[in-house]
Symmetry: C2
Subunit: 347 residues, 2 copies
């Protein structure tokens, strides 16, 4: 292991003290221009870079954020992860990734804490909220991303899941659908619960109730099976709201290719998230768009604010979600709120 160059090496070459080198690399420290010049020149010659680990030890700031994610299978999360990485980097932070496998949350928690992360983004829907609590108790700010857990010590950033679900109900009712069904995600996630609850409330506003319900657990294959079960009864649903796009795509494949139904002629399908695949020509999925960019920005801001000040209060930020009308849901006869998505191609 080649010993790397340290501030002492630079100090020696520049003919100054080690403290001076350190100060030269601290933007706010008092250093003369001449001193900084000498130090930077020596540093450049030696290829010196401050050791972030040593700095962490003394400042108690690692500038590392732990990000916990459950699965990257649902394309929503890769998009989030990439956004988080770039946004954190812009603020001088880096991202330590934890892919949570279930059943070992305690061990995972311990590992996160050992690395002295400055904050945590919990984007795992399956992770017990107890972990968030433990971190918060250890004095580490936590922001829940795309999930809530009140009461609790952590802030959260979500889209308006209930509002989105409600809009879907309005759309489907306005389009004249008579038998409107729902496929849930994981039952113990706030996203699935809120979307369903808003959806049911929306149906109720039209004096309607849910025609059928199945559970897809946010899994591709389980969603396909759920659709099969739901559509094997007579009469079958004439519209279905699926708790996320990842499942909605599986549902569409099942309806069209396995059951021979036409979408939306025979059945309307609506998803949630607006993942990249939803816009693919084969799907052109009508869905509720999560404001992913803004959610990421707000998450990073919230986290940094809490890192910088212990007094920063916990907050639950709910951002508006927007209905994106593509081609898988019948449109109401009269114009409706929400704009038609004109991008993409259709045969």
């Amino acid at each position: 292991m080649s010993r790397s160059v340290t501030s002492t090496d630079v100090a020696r070459l520049a003919g100054v003290s080690q403290s001076a080198v350190s100060r030269a690399f601290t933007p706010t420290a008092p250093v003369s221009a001449e001193m900084r010049r000498k130090v930077f020149e020596a540093a450049r010659k030696l290829g010196y870079r401050p050791n972030a680990i040593a700095r962490t030890l003394i400042t108690r700031r690692s500038r590392i954020i732990g990000v916990v994610i459950s699965s990257l299978e649902n394309q929503f999360y890769p998009v989030v992860l990439e956004g988080l990485s770039k946004q954190l980097r812009r603020h001088g932070y880096h991202l330590l990734l934890f892919c949570a496998e279930t059943q070992e949350t305690d061990e995972l928690l311990a590992e996160i804490l050992q690395y002295q992360v400055d904050g945590i983004v919990m984007a795992s829907s399956t992770m017990s909220s107890g972990v968030a609590r433990s971190c918060a108790e250890a004095g580490i700010p936590v922001v829940l991303f795309n999930r809530t857990a009140h009461p609790g010590p952590s802030s959260s950033v979500t889209a308006d899941n209930a509002g989105g679900g409600r809009e879907v109900a309005h759309l489907l009712c306005a389009a004249g659908h008579q038998r409107i069904a729902f496929i849930a995600g994981l039952e113990d996630t706030s996203t699935s619960r809120e979307r369903e609850q808003g959806f049911l409330a929306g149906l109720a506003e039209h004096g309607r109730s849910c025609f059928g319900r199945a559970v897809g657990n946010y899994d591709h294959d389980e969603a396909a099976r759920a659709a099969l079960a739901l559509f094997s009864r007579t009469p079958r649903p004439d519209a279905i709201f699926v708790a996320n796009d990842h499942m909605a795509i599986a549902v569409m494949d099942t309806l069209r290719l396995q059951l021979g139904l036409r979408v939306p002629a025979n059945v309307s399908v609506v998803g949630f998230d607006d993942v990249p695949q939803a816009a693919w020509a084969s799907y052109q999925l009508t869905t509720v768009r999560q404001p992913t960019e803004r959610m990421i920005d707000v998450t990073v801001e919230l986290l940094i604010r809490q890192i910088d000040s212990e007094q920063a209060p916990r907050e639950d930020i709910v951002l508006p979600a927007e209905l994106v009308l593509r081609s898988t849901a019948r449109l109401p006869p009269s114009p409706l709120i929400g704009q038609r998505d004109t991008g993409g191609m259709r045969g």
Copy 2:
């Protein structure tokens, strides 16, 4: 910021020296059973966990691996990332994620080095190989994942891209296709070049050459445009090999929905990677499967071997890639090597 509990706190409570606490948490250190018991009990009471950052400073081992990725849009990479995270974790390492935006490789490199990572996995196809070189010069082992760069100081792990391309050529020729075209990825990536070169070699073995060529740059929309350009000429191709699945899916959408062609009746389509979407019922894409799991295992092994021993030689590991016959390529009249994929459903 709540001061966290240190080994000194534990030592005080247990009535032993600080060194003893440290040794108790070092599996190989000489400690009596009684001592370890006392220490662990005190540690448990206080909720003590060794500070990984302090440990890094003294051992010069961070147990952090930097993973550089360019884009998570192509679903191949989320799968890889999740696999890497889990496999590294199994070996006691953690993953610091860098999403490389182009044009700032030097800055990125500096950041990676500051964090004293023990090793680097470069899974970014766009990242200049100069970065890999710089890291290697800094004494940090680098393994290139799904790309090669010889001559160079870094090991690499890839699928047999050329062999895969060659098999595709054989399949399409054997099926009797007359006008076989190719859509390239990014021109300066080893994956695209090797797949194309193997493909051309395979065609040549049948006395054939490539009927047409366009560039999709591994991008969904660009691939769609490339397909459009390639199929606007008369006569049009009757088969197309696309350098990866991510693009092949865009190509299929364009052929079927925009040009009204039937796959494989009018045109065969073959991809590369075998991403999850390739198996979706809407696509059922015939493709070349990368042995992702094995590639990940080998990458982690190679990296750890190089971390543990400076003498470990650089290696270029090439793993076999397997043709997966689904429904988008016409089959040859006589049985062919490679097995039919029977999973999934088809309408």
